[in-house]
Every structure is written in C-alpha cells, then in structure tokens.
C-alpha cells in the first residue's frame, strides 16, 4: 500500500469481489435454468459389471501407485537403509499381489460355478480341474494371501527397523 500507484488504486476500486462475482454467476445460471426449461438426462443407471470394473481399476491404480512408490524409493536412494529396502520390497509384493488379485478376479468370472462342489464356504469344497489352464490358475490365484501377508509383513518389519534405527540415533544425539 505504501508504493501503490494511482492506477493500482483505481484498479482496486473497480474490482468486483470474488464472492459477489460467484454469486452473480450462480444467480444468472439459476435464471437461465428456471426461465428456459428443457429435457434433462439427470441420472444414468449402472449395471452389474461396473462394480467389478471399478474394483479392477482400483487394483490397477494401487498397482501403479506401488510401482511408482518403489521406483521413487530407489531413485531417491532411500533403499540404502534396510528399513526402506523392506518397505520397497513390501510395495513390490503389493504390486505382485495386485496383479494376482486382478488376475484372480479376471479368471473368477470366466469359470463356471459347477466346477466347484460341496457346501459353499464349507471345508469340504472341491474344485474339478480338467487340465484347463483357467481352473488351475483360479486355484492358485485364490491363494493370494501367500503374497499379501509377506507384503504387509515386509511393511511392518521395514517400519520397525526404521523405528529402531531412529531410536538409536535419538539416544546418540542426546
């Protein structure tokens, strides 16, 4: 304000505040909508496969994010420390798990339900494998926890290692 020129002061004088401008736009839009009505396609129905697609896309997004994060840790030299290396391994395993889960969902909708016998959710359930790859893949892809658990374990171990190293540093600094 100390060095404000005459032009600046005039500009400030004639500037419409933001809130007022937004209000004006909303008001004009309202008038246009209510005074000039027309056919509107407000809602669109979403069928059953959309949930699965959204879920699969979420898997892809998570996989990409895990890959990016692992890459970032690498290029920023975080992996010199054991803790961060374990965390990076955790992300890579989560990346793998995403691929497994994505593939599992992909295969699951392509096999017929009559290939599985026994009470649903029971311990006596069996799967009939007739030499086709899809059924075999389904069986193994259902064992996704063999990847997910090590992934979360690596994250846990990585954070625990970082905590211990930090504790040593803090104590040394003190």
């Amino acid at each position: 304000m100390l060095n404000m020129t005459r032009a600046d002061s005039l500009r400030n004088q004639w500037t419409i505040p933001g809130s007022f401008g937004s209000g004006a736009i909303a008001l004009i839009t309202g008038f246009v909508v209510f005074l000039a009505p027309d056919t509107a396609w407000a809602l669109q129905s979403h069928g059953p496969p959309e949930g699965l697609y959204a879920h699969q896309m979420a898997h892809i997004l998570l996989a990409i994010s895990m890959a990016v994060l692992a890459y970032w840790l690498e290029i920023n030299s975080y992996t010199k420390e054991r803790g961060w290396r374990l965390i990076q391994l955790s992300f890579l395993l989560f990346l793998l798990w995403n691929l497994v889960a994505f593939s599992g969902h992909f295969v699951e909708i392509r096999i017929t339900p009559d290939l599985i016998e026994g009470q649903r959710g029971g311990w006596d359930q069996r799967i009939i494998i007739e030499g086709d790859f899809l059924t075999l893949a389904y069986y193994f892809l259902k064992l996704d926890h063999l990847v997910a658990v090590p992934a979360i374990l690596c994250l846990f171990l990585g954070i625990r290692n970082l905590y211990k190293q930090t504790l040593i540093k803090v104590v040394r600094d003190k």
């Binding site: 959204a54 898997h59 920023n76 959710g121 030499g131 063999l146 994250l155 954070i159 930090t166």
Partner: protein, 516 residues
C-alpha cells in the same frame, strides 16, 4: 493335473492370511506411531504413519470382508452375505484408491521433508558455526584481554617502578598522570594534588625558560634531554633532564604529551662540587705557596719589630709606630695561617672527640651573645653519637664560622638551628647549620668557599672564614655543602666520616692504658 482338488488350503490361507493381515497391519501402525513420536520433526515418519494407517484400513476392509464371508457361509447365512457382499467390494475399492492416493503424495512429502531436513541441517550447521564462533570469540576475547592485562600490567609496572619521573600532559599541558617517582621529585604526596590542578608552566622555575621550551616543542613536536630548572612543591629548585613528545590520541582525537624527566640535581651539584673542589684545590696550592713565602718574611718582620719594641722607650715617638707594625704583621700572620688552614697545610692534632661536647661549648659561648641580639639558637643532637677521630678545636672553629655567618645573614630576629645526626646512607655524621636569614643567590653560593670572597662590607670580613672551614672539613675527609634560597634562608651541611673499627679499637686501648 485332472481331478478333484480340495479348496480347504484356499479357505485356510484366506482365514489365517486375513487375520494376519489385520494383526500385522496394526503392528505396522503401532511402530509408525512410535517412530513419529521418536522424531516428530521428520515428515517422512508422518507419511509412513498415514501410509501404514491406510494399509491397515485396506487390510481391515478386505480381511474383515473375507472373514465375515466365511463366517456367514459357514453358519448358513449366505443370504446375509449376498446383501453384504457389494458393500465389502465397494469398500475394498475405496480402500485401494485411498492407499494409492496416499502413495502419490510420497514425492511431494519427500521433497518437503528433504527441504526441511536440509534447512534443519543448515540451521544446525549455522548454530554450530555460531557456537564455534562464539566460543572462539570468547576464547579470543579472553586471550586478548589476558594479553592486554599483561601488557597493561607490564607498562604500569614500568610506569610505577621507574626511578625517573614519567608523566602525561593533556593538550593544555596540565598533568593527567604521573608516576610515584615523579611525585617524589616534585614533592607531592598523591597524584590528586597534581593531576588536573597543576600545569607544566607552574613547575618551571623561570617563565622565560618555559616559554622557550614551549616554542621549541611546538616547532619540533618533541624535546629531548633539555636541562630545566623546576620548582618542587616546597619551592626548592630541582634540576631535571626533560624529554617530552606530543602524541595524538586515536580514540578522542586529542593531543597529549608524554614526558620523562631525570632528576639530575644531585649529579649537577656533584659536578659543581667537583669543579669547585678542583678550583679550591688549585687555589689552595697557590695560597699555600704564597703563605709559605710570606710566612718567613712576616716572621722576621714581627721578630725584629718585637726586638725594636723591647729596646724602645714607650715615650719614644717610634714606639707607637712599631706597635702598629707589630699589630698589622700579626694580622698578616693570621691571614697566612688561615690560608694554610684553607690549603690544609696546617698541622692538625687529631684525637677522638665528642662532637656534642665541642658544639655545646661553642653554642654556650655564642648562644648567649646571639640571644641578646634577638637570634635564637635551637639544637637537635642525636643521642649517643659516636666519637670521631678529628681535631676538636678546628671543628669548633668550623661551627663558629658557620654560626657567625648565619647570624650575620639574619637581620633582626631569627633562628639558627644546629643539628647533628648519624647519616646511615653516607656512613657519617651529618651536621647542619640553618638560618632563616636573607639567603643568597645561586651565583653567590657557587663562590662562597672561595678565599677572600665576601658579601660583607670592606673591613668587616676577610672572606676566609668559609674557606678555612672548607679546608678543615676536607682535611677531616668530610665534605661541606650549602643550600640557599633568597629570602628563605641558608643551610650549611657538613658530613664527617665515622671512625674505622680499627681506629676505634686502638683508641679504646690507648684510653684503657692511660687509665691504668
């Protein structure tokens, strides 16, 4: 590979895996929170806490869904599961997106953290540098202060301990500081008496000398070894060799002067005494020669005059003439004898004498006469003065001469002070005769011991009294000095040496033998 395969391993891994996922993910959150607590300023730990929390959320959403599914199906509530199933899938999808969103923040967080860490490191480095500088500065200041203190102490020691007078004058040539030796030279007790109150002009004996000094100082900027006559506090004259240098102070941009002065009064006096002694010695030789040459014819004249007087009748006209010749010849003989005494060519009969006894005799003889004329004689003799090996009669003559001179210097009432004490410094007996008479000029004082030099009117004195005293004192291995100030008074000082121990022992033995 064809056949029936149990799905129990799949179910088992699903239940156990889901449970482990929840437990381990919460373990990760717990450690991440501990990590955050251990180092709160590290943004990466905050990120890891958020990430592990997101992972825990993902694990719960997924694993709880799986466990609930198995529980519901196992208990035969498949219809409930069918209702619940879309929700778990949606929640799972949201959890995936949540975790992904958190991971995409990593680069940003990493950059901010890197900035924070670099700033922190820079701050720590700056703090360390400041601490180091501060410590170094403190050490440096301490070292410099110590050096300054030592230097100050050293120069203060030189200043205080110097035997010569050292002083500082301000731009008005008034005393700013002076060392103890300077105070002693000028006769002051403390610097406060002098500093800021007395100027150099006031201590100069002559204004003309001071003006010449200032003129030369302003022309050349400094003066080296100038012989100056200055005045003590008591008014006594002191001869000094004065060196003064003008300096400009950087701090206050003011001119000041540093001076060093050496008291050469004693040296100059000694030189003058030596010159005088040389002069008087050569005069003495001449006087002795003349006296010896005159003594014989005077003796003959006196002898023949006395022979003629014996054979001459009193009524005879020439009798009176012969008596005049005899009287004048005796006068001449006395002068010749005085000259011989002055030239130390007269015989002395030395023995151990008690000075106080000798002096008391003289004082009782003269004191009464002097008191009649308004002159008081004060005595101060140190008790137990040792006997000295001297000619008592001649020392009495010296005291008489000095007291008579003192009396003649006093017009009207006055005081003559006679003192005798042991002077440890010069290993002798110091006798002084002071008067508060008219005093004399330095020029007169220089010639006072010269034979036939007198300030008295013609016929009143021969000018041989002090010369004879000088000769007697010299003959006793002593010395006689005079200090005088016009209008104040005169002090004659006689220093006679103390007897040797060997001489003392011999005398004691002789005394003992005489008693036996």
């Amino acid at each position: 590979m064809t056949g029936y395969y149990s799905l129990a391993p799949v179910l088992f891994s699903d239940v156990i895996g889901s449970s482990l996922m929840i437990v381990i993910s919460f373990g990760a959150v717990w450690y991440a929170s501990r990590l955050k607590k251990a180092e709160p300023s590290n943004l990466m730990w905050m990120y890891l806490l958020v990430l592990s929390a997101a992972m825990a959320g993902f694990s719960i959403s997924r694993s709880v869904g799986h466990l609930v599914k198995h529980l519901l199906l196992f208990t035969g509530h498949s219809y409930i599961w069918e209702c619940f199933r879309p929700y778990t899938g949606a929640i799972n999808s949201i959890a995936f997106i949540g975790v992904a969103s958190v991971t995409f923040f990593f680069p940003k967080v990493q950059r901010i953290n890197a900035r924070i860490l670099s700033d922190k490191m820079a701050l720590e480095k700056a703090t360390q540098d400041i601490k180091l500088l501060n410590h170094n500065l403190e050490a440096l200041v301490e070292k410099r202060t110590r050096q300054l203190s030592l230097s100050e102490k050293k120069y203060r020691g030189i200043f205080e301990g110097s035997m010569d007078m050292i002083f500082v004058l301000d731009d008005q040539l008034s005393f700013e500081d002076i060392n103890p030796s300077g105070l002693a030279t000028l006769g002051y007790d403390s610097p406060s008496e002098l500093v800021g109150t007395v100027s150099l002009a006031e201590i100069f004996f002559n204004t003309s000398d001071y003006e010449e000094f200032i003129r030369d100082l302003s022309v050349s900027g400094s003066i080296k070894d100038r012989e100056c006559r200055i005045r003590e506090k008591s008014g006594l004259e002191v001869l000094i060799l004065l060196s003064v240098t003008g300096t400009m102070s950087d701090a206050v941009k003011q001119k000041s002067y540093v001076g060093i002065a050496k008291d050469v009064t004693a040296r100059i006096r000694m030189e003058r005494q030596l010159q005088q002694a040389d002069r008087l010695a050569s005069l003495g030789q001449t006087a002795a020669g003349v006296a010896h040459e005159l003594n014989t014819p005077l003796g003959i004249i006196l002898g023949y005059t006395q022979l003629l007087l014996r054979g001459c009748n009193v009524q005879d006209g020439s009798h009176g003439d012969l008596e005049i010749i005899q009287k004048q010849t005796k006068n001449c003989k006395r002068i010749v004898q005085d000259l011989l005494k002055f030239s130390r060519d007269s015989q002395t009969k030395k023995s151990y004498v008690d000075l106080i006894e000798c002096f008391n005799e003289v004082i009782s003889l003269l004191g009464h006469q002097f008191e009649k004329e308004g002159v008081i004689v004060k005595t101060s003799f140190e008790p137990d003065l040792p006997k000295i090996f001297a000619d008592g009669e001649k020392l009495e003559q010296v005291l008489v001469n000095l007291m008579v001179n003192a009396k003649q210097a006093i017009s009207g009432n006055g005081t003559i002070a006679v003192t005798a004490k042991i002077d440890q410094e010069h290993q002798g007996i110091l006798i002084s005769v002071s008067d508060n008479g008219c005093g004399m000029s330095p020029k007169t004082a220089e010639k006072i011991f010269d034979p036939f030099f007198t300030t008295k009117p013609v016929g009143v004195g021969t000018g041989l009294g002090l010369s004879v005293s000088y000769g007697i004192v010299q003959a006793h291995g002593g010395r006689i000095e005079v200090e005088s100030k016009e209008g104040v008074g005169t002090t004659f000082t006689v220093l006679l040496p103390l007897p040797d121990e060997s001489e003392q022992n011999v005398e004691d033995m002789q005394t003992q033998a005489a008693k036996e």
